[in-house]
């Protein structure tokens, strides 16, 4: 397995609704690309802040706040950050992973890509990886991505 690229993004809640993109070059033949993606923290642990966020969201959405007691709202805790991952080959958007687990391993190859991603040859050229910040509820968030290339014979 060959490490091709590594991305570290340290962001704040002000960055929510942004796409962060990192480019990398594939300059030799690989059978597959493997992306180890993670972010931390997953959850907002501050109960009072969470309650405040939920109340504000309900008011903005024209819900009857009076119907929602704190004990009902607390069932939604802990509130979660959410980041989704996309990969672009030199040719096209290969896919997006919209899942809630903060630790994901994405594999892309011509025959066995992770669900959510097309099967595609690993073209040589400029690829990119995008972290889409769907929801950043905590003050800060750290994202770590390692991109690796692998050939099947290396697994023998």
């Amino acid at each position: 397995m060959t490490k091709i690229a590594e991305f570290n993004w340290n962001i704040t809640s002000a960055d929510t609704k942004k796409h962060l993109t990192g480019d990398f070059m594939v300059d030799k033949p690989f059978e597959k690309l493997i992306f180890e993606c993670s972010y931390t923290p997953k959850y907002l642990e501050d109960e009072q802040k969470g309650l405040q966020m939920m109340r504000e969201a309900l008011v903005k959405a024209d819900y009857s706040l009076a119907k929602y007691k704190d004990e009902d709202l607390l069932k939604h805790m802990p509130l979660a950050n959410h980041v989704s991952w996309s990969v672009d080959s030199p040719i096209e958007l290969v896919g997006t992973k919209h899942m809630h687990d903060p630790n994901q391993v994405i594999t892309i190859s011509n025959g066995q890509s992770t669900p959510g991603f097309k099967h595609t040859p690993i073209y040589e050229g400029r690829w990119s990886f995008t972290a889409s910040l769907n929801a950043v509820l905590t003050d800060t968030l750290s994202i770590h991505v390692v991109v690796m290339g692998e050939n099947d014979d290396a697994m023998v």
Binding site: M54, S86, T96, K97, M99, A135
Partner: protein, 320 residues
């Protein structure tokens, strides 16, 4: 007109669903769906497998995607357009929806009135559309016990306002099916009406033609007779007198599973209640003067002992 049960909003393991394409198809058959649309978040990679499995199981599968953008979710059904969901934003939303429709896809606003972040990331529809003509359908009901939930109540209110403003948008239900939920709370269906064969293109065209109703397992056969001609809810009619002929009964699976009961119906003209009538049998015939811009019908009743709306029909539009 033949009516079919269709689920227009489903997910698989290609996004955050827990069922693979094969399991989704099998469970859809078990629920007596005639067709489903596979609408994973920002990916279409389960569609082909689901279509193949659907052929084997006798279930029509329509490819689709749920654009899960930062300002709301939009179900794009048909699998013909290729818009990069990341490019959709507050400034270009009208153009992107038009682009999808131009390719032959169907545009549905998904669960527009959920509270959104922090409960469910960006589930609330925050876009301000300049052109609602780019929208074919609107999830008036969504998810569990739809007619009792606050988000569906708000969604119905907005959809009714859009209809009164003159927009022609089909009412649909979106289960937003992520997990088997075999013993979960009550859910609804979208019923889609067509004359021809049940296939993806006819399903999309039927929704474009607004031949839909949403219901808690109530089968409805409704027509409007005007000057000897037969029309369906969703159609455009002329001013004048007409007769509404409506037959309805609770399907056996809903009767058994959710104890659904029809209690009555309400007819609205331009959003204002025109007539409320108790349900006295399986068939009614109501004369009506079409002296307004639209007429809507809702059925009310009970689901698992709770009083609620149990069906909403596509409006008729008086345009001539």
């Amino acid at each position: 007109m033949q009516w079919y049960r269709v689920e227009l909003h489903t997910h698989t393991i290609a996004s955050d669903g827990v069922m693979d394409a094969e399991e989704l198809v099998k469970r859809a058959k078990k629920r007596n769906y005639n067709a489903i649309v596979v609408t994973d978040h920002n990916t279409t990679t389960s569609c082909k497998t689901a279509q193949e499995k659907g052929k084997k199981e006798g279930l029509v599968v329509v490819p689709g995607i749920e654009w899960t953008t930062f300002w709301g979710h939009i179900v794009i059904s048909g699998g013909k357009s290729n818009v990069d969901w990341r490019s959709v934003n507050l400034e270009n939303i009208d153009d992107k929806l038009a682009q999808a429709r131009k390719c032959g896809d169907l545009v549905t606003i998904a669960h527009p009135k959920r509270p959104g972040t922090p409960f469910c990331s960006e589930c609330r529809f925050l876009y301000k559309l300049n052109n609602w003509d780019n929208v074919d359908a609107y999830e008036v009901w969504s998810h569990y016990e739809p007619s009792l939930s606050e988000d569906s109540t708000l969604a119905k209110k907005e959809w009714a306002s859009l209809i009164n403003e003159g927009h022609k948008i089909a009412p649909v239900y979106g289960y937003d099916w992520h997990a088997p939920d075999e013993d979960g709370p009550a859910y609804a269906h979208t019923y889609v009406g067509m004359e021809g064969e049940l296939n993806p293109e006819n399903i999309l065209q039927a929704i474009r033609d607004r031949h839909t109703y949403i219901s808690m397992g109530v089968n409805i056969d409704a027509k409007i007779i005007q000057d000897g001609n037969e029309y369906y809810f969703g159609d455009e009619l002329a001013k004048g007198n007409a007769n509404i002929c409506l037959k309805a009964h609770v399907s056996s699976d809903y009767l058994k599973k959710f104890n659904v009961e029809i209690k009555g119906l309400r007819i609205y003209k331009n959003g204002k209640m025109f007539l409320a009538k108790k349900w006295e049998g399986e068939e009614i015939d109501i004369p009506i003067e079409l002296n307004c811009k639209n007429v809507r019908i809702e059925l009310y009743g009970a689901v698992e002992g709770k009083d609620c709306d149990i069906a909403i029909l596509s409006p008729i539009y008086i345009t001539r």
